[in-house]
């Protein structure tokens, strides 16, 4: 290996590392707020990429129907909850439930029917993709997790596995078995010394950095960000001071879905994405999140870069053992974490 190969591999590793960082951060966010180990995080990557690809080839993105179905189910569940609480349905409450669950799906459907077919500018395509996939996050929370919000971490993990399989199956129905690739954002390439830098990987790294900054500001400077942090620190305390647990859960799922979808949009131009691609990508983000102990954002981000670089160099040295090397990383990390921090029981926290 000479210098230029090392540099190319580093560039590659940093690009994938940035993707894993976004996913790792999303996993940390969801876990700290809701105690859900969000295995389906990767599905948003695949859904985002494939929905964008469908839009670019002028096909009707079938994911809209999934969004609509989720909205209807969530609405019915809300109605049932209202009915159990008040026995009769208060119109104002029904309206609020409808806005929470059905508004976005309906708007998206109407928009997809009204907007002209054909080539849209890239930014509009990306925005529309986000509008289709991101609302699925809070709706999935409402349908699958909210009824069990106070269950143990293990139960929530099992729900996650179920949601993951359901979404994978729906992904196959909606997008088909074959993969897709989207058009590049930019064909820009320039060389720094011996290294060819592609605009595409700069776009990925740049977006990741911007997003991490935005998240930081959101958690530090805004009320809802602080509410999320409070819920993560102490759920009961947060509830006592008037922060809605369900609201915080929905919000964290929305952010996670947004980060996942954005990852999908970012990687779709330089790799072929399949309906089931998301799982492995999400799993590597999970390794990164584990490095951060599922609690620390900076450690998770650093872990992601480590995973990305390790993967890139491993694919050069020993391509047949690449995945083994990446996932084996988790063992020394777990050892170190269990030695470094005193044992604590997950369930006794509350």
């Amino acid at each position: 290996m000479d210098g230029s190969i090392a540099a190319i591999l580093a560039q590659d590793g940093l690009t994938t590392g940035a993707i894993y960082a976004l996913l790792g951060l999303a996993l940390v966010l969801v876990f700290s707020v809701t105690r859900v180990i969000f295995i389906p995080q990767g599905e948003f990557v695949a859904f985002g990429a494939l929905t964008l690809a469908a839009l670019q080839t002028g096909k009707f993105p079938l994911a809209i129907w999934l969004l609509l179905a989720l909205g209807v189910v969530a609405f019915v569940m809300e109605l049932y909850a209202l009915w159990r609480e008040h026995v009769r349905l208060v119109p104002a409450a029904v309206l609020r439930a409808a806005i929470h669950t059905m508004l976005m799906p309906t708007l998206v459907l109407i928009a997809s029917l009204l907007l002209p077919q054909g080539q849209w500018p890239m930014l509009l395509q990306v925005a529309f993709t986000l509008a289709i996939v991101v609302p699925m996050g809070p709706l999935i929370y409402r349908v699958a997790y909210q009824p069990l919000a106070s269950a143990s971490t293990l139960v929530l993990l099992i729900v996650s596995v179920g949601v993951h399989y359901a979404l994978i199956g729906l992904g196959l129905v909606m997008f088909g078995a074959e993969g897709a690739r989207t058009e590049p954002f930019t064909d820009l390439r320039f060389s720094v010394g011996a290294l060819q830098v592609s605009g595409q990987s700069l776009a990925v790294i740049g977006t990741a950095v911007l997003l991490i900054l935005a998240l930081y500001l959101y958690f530090e400077r805004t009320l809802s960000g602080k509410a999320l942090r409070a819920t993560a620190v102490n759920r009961l305390g947060a509830q006592i001071v008037g922060i809605g647990i369900a609201q915080a859960g929905r919000l964290s799922f929305m952010l996670a879905a947004a980060m996942g979808t954005l990852c999908g949009v970012l990687i779709a131009p330089f790799t072929t994405v399949y309906y089931d691609s998301g799982f492995l990508i999400g799993l590597k983000g999970f390794v990164a999140a584990i490095i951060g102990g599922l609690a620390s954002y900076p450690l998770a981000a650093a872990g992601s870069l480590l995973v990305g670089l390790l993967e890139s160099y491993a694919s050069f040295w020993a391509s047949a053992y690449k995945e083994v090397i990446v996932f084996t990383l988790i063992i020394p990390v777990l050892l170190w974490r269990s030695l470094a921090s005193p044992a604590h029981d997950d369930e006794s926290e509350e």
């Binding site: 072929t272 399949y274 890139s312 160099y313 690449k322």
Partner: protein, 381 residues
Amino acid sequence: MPLALLVSAALAAGAAQAQIKIGVTVSATGPAASLGIPEKNTFSIMPKSIGGKTVEYIVLDDASDTTTAVKNARKLISDDKVDVIIGSTVTPNALALVDVAAETETPIISLAASSRIIEPMDAKRKWVFKTPQNDSHMASAITGHMADAGVKTVGFIGFNDAYGNGWYDEVAKFADVRKLKIVANERFARNDTAVTGQILKIMSANPDAVLIAGAGTPAALPQKTLKERGYKGKTYQTHGVANPDFLRVCGKDCEDTFLPAGPILVASQLPAGNPIRKVALDYIGKYEKAFGAGSFSTFGGHAWDSGMVLERAIPEALKKAQPGTKEFRAALRDAMEKTTDLTVSHGVMNMTANDHLGFDQRARVMVEIKNGAWTLVGDAK
């Protein structure tokens, strides 16, 4: 007396609807879905009666999972009492079915490619047949083409599974004969998002040609990376990529790539004298009528060919025994083994007791990707 009448009436009714039951297990979901779906579709256009008997196809999905494939096969045999099983799509599943076939004495026609499914011939594999070409057919075509084009050194990158490893073994076998040197041997996974490391390593060995052994659209990634890194040599793919989705995903980066394939891929370009042309075009016509223009894939062709083998063998077996019996299954097995001069969509079959595929060099052609379409190389008489 009334009881006896009832019984004989029931028997008569049974005989009247005496059907031939064909059990099918294909991987219509899971990682091999892009192969399994056209196979599954093909069974819906297959003949509904053979040798004067109605035929029922019971199609199950094994989700590309070995355990499910075995479960499906056992269910088809014990519950549905099928006379023959077709499947499964991928090699691990097909290998697992070999034991089931031997144990229950049910003939199986595999749609997976590995030669290990039918070789070496033994008491178990006696019951197993297959329709896709062996990898060695394809590997000999590729290495032959390389040698003719003056290639001396080859870089190999394959799937990190049985497909990639099997291909590496086959190519390594032929490399000596064709005076080729394999200078790099790398692996990648179907869901990998980047193969830059592997490609850089291959390119640092500076081979005359690179062979990418992957199936379906994932095989486009190494090729795109090669282009991106400015590789100037020849690129070869395997027949695993021969579906329209690969062309869609790979786009202009796959121009001038060579691959071996079953003749059905370029059926309309085959010379009029080639008997395969008519059979292949017939299948493509029927398939596209049902599932839309441009929708056929070579994998569905394997399923169609399994049907053609049965169409030839079932009338022979019917002379010896009635469907639904152990004797019929044995007779069917014997008849299939005697398949001679059967032109199918992928070649011409001449089976023997030792060769349960029976293809020769007519079963593969070299194809080049030109202007985003498959183009026949050579004359393929």
